[in-house]
């Protein structure tokens, strides 16, 4: 009987060998997949073992953590509620995290490589140091102003967005999407409650979870005329160049003529480029676009950041919330020749042209910053758990140089003229050179038009202070003027926050 017993011994070895091999598969090869699986609650519990760092802006705490005594030791809370929701994002237990809470998760959680030394020290001291802290570029005053002005707009619009950028650095001063939401219920430790809150927001009318400032694109309307103007100035035009205008313009092969917003606008056959922008002359810009051609117009838009699919707002290394690419549309027939009807429409920001509010602000910022477009960012600093060690401070980076300083100055003059004597007079701030461009875009639906304003303020020393873009969706007539007014309030808040400089 010993021979079969020995063979049984071999079978035992084989079975144990299989177990051992399989354990290697599970615990070594697949370990990372299992460890980070969404179904793995251990990760969460471990994540909540350590106090998550604070997110703050201008000394105001925006996201904090407090002890609970439960299995998940710390509860995230957002003291400012819906005010900063779209800029911060949120960090829920089971749902997906978003915004800065997502892009800076590792640093906030204290698990990033940068904080390795702190974790090693913890091993010896037995303490559990908190995660790192994130300082945002937002100006609390501008952010709160933007939020309040949007919420209490005079057109009773329920959807919109506002973005303000420091033109000289690219630092984002305000970022609001309306309607907003209170992130606190979403991070409830009772995941059923959190999920219910999420579902309710997800199904709510007007989509409060959408980040309209970064992720939604809409036809920019006449604000796009700044791009058309830039294309003209770069191709031999000057602000005083006479361009053909008129009460209506029927592009070759087009079925419907383009008209102006009012019969009082540029009825004469020729106006200067500057006058055309000041009054927002549709016929003049449509003709100008057709004359320049689709390639030049699209190239100019790209130089200002259209078609950029890589942009993310967060840190300057590209980590952050993704920004939807703004689009010009084709403006050409399938065989590659210009299509005058769509080209004419596109030149005044209609047809297939789509823009995010951030893109609008970036156009104004580039103009205000003498043609240098800075990379927009939201994270000013990464501070260690001790609040003294500096792990990262934003060093502003140039993103593009869409136009020469000369063209930029011409554009500034033209846009200042819009605010001084044109469609954007509501944006005036005394003591500052304020320039801008209004836009009223038809969406083709039964809803009212989108009201846009993009603009900038330059102080008496010639330093650009702020560039903004305000969007009011379905605002109807007068929407762009209201957008201009809100822009003014936001820029004034920025100025106040900077101590009037």
């Amino acid at each position: 009987m010993n021979a079969p017993l020995r063979r049984v011994g071999v079978v035992v070895m084989v079975l144990f060998g299989l177990l051992f091999a399989n354990l290697n598969w599970v615990q070594a090869y697949k370990a990372d997949e299992y460890r980070t699986s969404d179904y793995n609650g251990r990760v969460q519990v471990a994540e909540y073992e350590r106090k998550r760092g604070i997110i703050e802006a201008g000394g105001t705490p925006l996201a904090t953590s407090r002890e609970t005594g439960g299995e998940l030791k710390y509860l995230r809370s957002y003291p400012k509620g819906e005010l900063y929701a779209h800029a911060l994002g949120y960090k829920p237990v089971n749902l997906a995290d978003t915004g800065i809470e997502k892009s800076e998760n590792e640093f906030l959680a204290g698990t990033s490589d940068q904080l390795f030394a702190d974790r090693v020290r913890d091993l010896f001291t037995g303490n559990q140091t908190a995660g790192g802290n994130i300082l945002l570029t937002l100006s609390p005053r501008a952010q709160e102003m933007a939020f309040r002005q949007l919420a209490e707009n005079e057109k009773n619009v329920t959807r919109g967005a506002a973005v303000a950028i420091d033109p000289a650095t690219g630092a984002i001063q305000a970022l609001v999407s309306m309607p907003s939401f209170d992130p606190n219920p979403l991070v409830d430790h009772d995941s059923k409650k959190a999920e219910a809150a999420y579902k309710q927001l997800d199904n709510a009318k007007d989509g409060p979870l959408k980040n309209r400032a970064l992720a939604e694109t809409l036809p920019p309307g006449s604000t796009f005329k700044v791009i058309t103007s830039a294309a003209a100035l770069e191709n031999g035009y000057t602000p005083s160049t006479q361009i053909p205008a008129g009460p209506s313009y029927l592009a070759p092969t087009a079925g419907v003529p383009i008209r102006n917003a009012a019969t009082s606008i540029c009825p004469e056959s020729q106006v200067t480029l500057k006058e055309a922008l000041t009054e927002s002359c549709n016929t003049g810009f449509a003709r100008l676009g057709v004359t320049l051609g689709a390639e030049k117009l699209k190239a100019e838009a790209r130089k200002f950041g259209f078609e950029d699919e890589e942009l993310a707002v967060g840190r300057l290394n590209g980590a952050g919330q993704a920004v939807a690419a703004s689009r010009t549309g084709s403006m050409q027939t399938p065989d590659g020749r210009d299509d005058p009807p769509t080209l004419a429409q596109s030149s005044i920001g209609q047809n297939d042209v789509r823009m995010t509010p951030l893109q609008g602000a970036m156009i104004a910022a580039a103009v205000a910053n003498n043609g240098r477009q800075m990379r927009p960012y939201l994270v000013q600093q990464q501070l260690g758990p001790d609040r003294t060690t500096d792990y990262y401070t934003a060093v502003p980076k140039e993103l593009r140089e869409p136009v020469s300083p000369q063209v930029a100055r011409d554009l500034q003059d033209m846009m200042v003229s819009v605010v001084q004597s044109g469609t954007g007079t509501k944006a005036k701030i005394s003591g500052y050179r304020v320039g801008g461009k209004t836009g009223t875009a038809e969406t083709g639906g039964t809803n009212g038009d989108q009201g846009w304003f993009i603009g900038f303020a330059i102080n008496s020393a010639g330093v650009p202070v702020s560039a903004v873009c305000v969007l009011l969706e379905d605002a109807g007539s007068g929407g762009s003027a209201e957008a201009a007014r809100i822009s003014r309030e936001i820029m004034r808040a920025v100025i106040a926050d900077r101590g009037g400089r």
Partner: protein, 485 residues
């Protein structure tokens, strides 16, 4: 003189040394658990360990006097696993207790406390078996009684109403007898009883089973009428599968029988027949589960979860998936005893204890644990090889292999090597029945290994009385040689 003593060495002091080492490991484990869970090591962390240590020591003394030549590795190896089990279950209690109660958690409370009490009882029972059973051959006298008792034990839960036979809300397996809050798992004991019967029956019938055969495709197949017993056991094990809804136990009984049959007859054909029957039966059950459902549905679900662990992640697949995630989270080194979250796995103290421990001791720890188990099984097989009588060989071989098969079924199930079927992890899982039955198994192996290693001449006394003993003649297999036609 010294040479002779070497040949007949009892190695009891080695056993004592290994036992102390095992207890030191368990104590270190318990201390680490407290350091991680309580941030401090309480002054009485060693009390539960000392309690199990004391009873293991008592067992050692019993072995020293009543089975002096028993294998010196068995008791320490089993004590190590058992001790770690107690410490881990206490660790689960601490995790589940309110933070302020953790520091002075009574040693006999909670699952860990109960397991401690069961360990004491089981070891005393094992010692009792050593006292009563001075010669393993004596049990063959009760073979038919035990066989009958085994079958009755298997059948009881199947025929009992679910109220009395289902205690685990996680599964619908009917494996228990539950009366007034007191539950036993008769299958654990049935395993031993049936094995004694198999060994006895096969020793008597092996001649006819191995002699009469038909040759087919180069393999000797038994005659049709000799297939009777194996078919009966196959039907019983399929019955277990159908009525108790438990593939693991069914596989265990069947594998146990086929392997003892193979050891007895040395016929590979039995293994082939057995494997074909089992896989055929399992496939049929899977097929019926997908089409007919009913009693086979459970098995079908298990296979589906095995094929896709994420398929029903929030339903039936939750527990197996959490087990896998626990093992994965542990990775190579584990989170350290007390540093993980094994309580994320439902019922982690039962079937999934291996995954729970795996999270904390990692691949390295689990590999060490597997090696300890392998050592126990290998020592059992070694006793089977060395013992002189056929009954002892079959019994020790069968018991060792049963232990191996049970470990394979549950650990393979947890780590998703095979479809998961409920089984306790020997010496680790919480539960008195499993612990007692497995300690009785160890006591039997100790008794057989004592007989195997005992010098031949000293059958009258426990120790050689100083007379020069000749080395034991190599009689292995001499009386068990199969006469072939």
């Amino acid at each position: 003189m010294p040479r002779v003593r070497v040949a007949a060495k009892s190695r009891r002091n080695a056993e004592l040394g290994l036992l102390l080492l095992a207890m030191a490991v368990v104590a270190a484990y318990a201390a680490t658990v407290e350091a991680n869970l309580l941030d401090t090591v309480t002054l009485d962390f060693w009390v539960p360990i000392a309690a199990v240590g004391a009873v293991f020591l008592a067992l050692h003394l019993v072995v020293r006097f009543l089975a002096p030549y028993a294998d010196p590795v068995l008791v320490p190896a089993v004590a190590l696993v058992n001790g770690l089990g107690v410490a881990f279950l206490r660790r689960l209690d601490l995790a589940n207790a309110a933070p302020e109660e953790r520091a002075d958690f009574a040693i006999f409370s909670g699952t860990g406390g109960r397991q401690l009490a069961w360990t004491l009882a089981s070891v005393i029972l094992a010692a009792g078996l050593l006292v009563l059973m001075r010669d393993h051959r004596a049990v063959s006298r009760y073979a038919y009684t035990l066989g009958l008792a085994g079958i009755v034990l298997v059948i009881i839960p199947a025929v009992l109403p679910a109220r009395y036979s289902q205690v685990n809300p996680q599964s619908d397996a009917k494996l228990w007898i539950s009366v007034g809050g007191f539950t036993i798992q008769p299958g654990e004991f049935a395993k031993l009883a049936l094995l004694v019967f198999f060994a006895y029956y096969l020793v008597r019938k092996r001649e006819v089973l191995s002699l009469a055969s038909r040759r087919f495709l180069g393999v000797d197949f038994p005659r049709g009428r000799d297939l009777g017993p194996v078919v009966v056991v196959w039907i019983i094990s399929l019955g277990v599968l159908v009525f108790q809804k438990d593939l693991g136990t069914s596989l265990l009984y069947f594998g146990m029988f086929v392997v003892t049959l193979y050891i007895a007859t040395e016929r590979v054909s039995w293994l082939i027949i057995g494997l074909l029957l089992f896989f055929g039966g399992a496939f049929l059950a899977y097929f019926l589960g997908s089409t007919v459902g009913g009693p086979f549905a459970n098995f079908y679900t298990r296979v589906e979860i095995w094929l896709d662990p994420y398929g029903d992640a929030y339903g039936a697949g939750w527990q197996p998936l959490q087990g896998l995630l626990g093992l994965g989270t542990g990775g190579l080194f584990g989170t350290g005893p007390g540093g993980g979250q094994p309580t994320q796995i439902p019922e982690v103290h039962n079937d999934f204890i291996f995954a729970g421990m795996g999270e904390e001791i990692g691949l390295f720890g689990l590999s060490a644990l597997l090696v300890i188990y392998l050592l126990i099984i290998e020592r059992g097989l070694r006793a089977a090889l060395a013992v002189r009588d056929s009954f002892g060989k079959l019994l020790a071989g069968g018991l060792s292999f049963t232990l191996c098969l049970q470990l394979f079924v549950i650990i393979g199930g947890i780590s998703s090597l095979i479809p998961l079927t409920g089984q306790t992890t020997p010496f680790l899982s919480a539960g008195g029945s499993s612990l007692m039955a497995n300690w009785l198994l160890v006591a039997t192996l100790l008794r057989i290994s004592d007989a195997a290693r005992r010098p031949v001449e000293t059958g009258t006394g426990p120790r050689p009385s100083g007379a020069p003993a000749t080395p034991p003649p190599q009689l292995h297999g001499a009386t068990t040689e199969v006469i072939r036609p």
